[in-house]
Symmetry: C2
Subunit: 223 residues, 2 copies
Amino acid sequence: MGRRLSICNSIDDCDLAILANESSRMTVADGRSFIEEGEPANDFFVVTGGRVKLFTLLPDGRRQITGFAEGGDFLGLAASTSYAFGAEALGGATLCRFPHAGMQRLTERFPSLEHRLREEASRELALMQARMTLLGRKTARERVATFLIERCSHLDRPDPSHTIELDLPMPRTDIADYLGLTIETVSRILSAFKKEKLINIRSITHIKLLDPERISMIAEGME
Amino acid sequence: MGRRLSICNSIDDCDLAILANESSRMTVADGRSFIEEGEPANDFFVVTGGRVKLFTLLPDGRRQITGFAEGGDFLGLAASTSYAFGAEALGGATLCRFPHAGMQRLTERFPSLEHRLREEASRELALMQARMTLLGRKTARERVATFLIERCSHLDRPDPSHTIELDLPMPRTDIADYLGLTIETVSRILSAFKKEKLINIRSITHIKLLDPERISMIAEGME
DNA sequence: CCATCACCTTGACCTGAATCAAGTCTGGTA
DNA sequence: TACCAGACTTGATTCAGGTCAAGGTGATGG
């Protein structure tokens, strides 16, 4: 997710008035949820600011975070009649909401938009494929390493130097639920990485990768 | 996957000649692979007969099976420039191959096809969401139960009676790699289910669900 | 009709990550 | 400056599932 063309770009002669007509802006406060898993799916969303987490729940409360979304990301493709996931703001977010009906009017007027949506879905599918491998086959160390590397690709300016400064805007609980681990395990492994001089933990949210190369290797199970 | 409309149905005045022009049939023998992960993605595929497994690999050979596909299923959406997965026949399969260029000609002529592809991708996304929860948060028992229930939905005639006969066309190794377990664990849990009178194991590939209701409960972690 | 081989099951044991249980750190409040 | 609450870390212990190691089973061929 992140840093790629917004859906507007697929509308060559992008008539922004029409686009605005079919959508409405909304603001979601930290921790507030705006998509309920299983509810009828009536809207698409585009994240315009802040961050959002997507998740599914088991009846007893176990949670799997299936993705984080930020500015420019598209939400709601993983839904037929009802949403296959819940979504909730992570530190406050602003969204653009597109009712399905309106989106359909848009795709009729701008056929390339439909193609754009498919591309978006494909990209998401490819990511999920990798995430299934992470959840099904990687060790805890590999998962955390993968997570760190993944976060790097969300940076605006991929630092040219050898060390990379990372901001982890989500609490450990979310990282754990994203990686299929417990918070304790995530914490322990970050501590271990620190002891191994792979990272510096400047604060809870701010981490510096001292050896991104090596962390990538660990992420792929090739350490 | 399975038992839903083929892409042809989105072509209202379906000109089969045109469709045939843009595609080629192929046969893949048992165990032969026809998509290599990471290779440039030039084709879409539709499974017309037999079965296929999709998977990703880690460098050391660990494998995650990300899905099984059968008649009518569409392959290749989870790809941008290169395939995000490998694919291999499971007991022999026949496929229809659509080069991207040809597919593009088709979507130009039949715009609703593009929509159909997006729907297909959405459906797949929703399935993957559930599978991530399985891999990240479910116990081995829950995974195997989920697998059995999932297989039911692939049956032609969902048996009206209370017990359901299932055919598992894939070896234990594939089930294990699909569920993120080992073959031993899969085997043990099937034996446990048998001992608990939840299933009968008539042969390696043929299983009878004696209490589908209860198995569903286990699958959702509510036993 | 037996041998073989591939696949599956079962058992014994081990281990990575979960669970349970203290601490510690941080930032907000008074 | 001290207090508090919530989030994080760390340690001790447990346990689900993995690993290692025999057996079983059933389809194929000699």
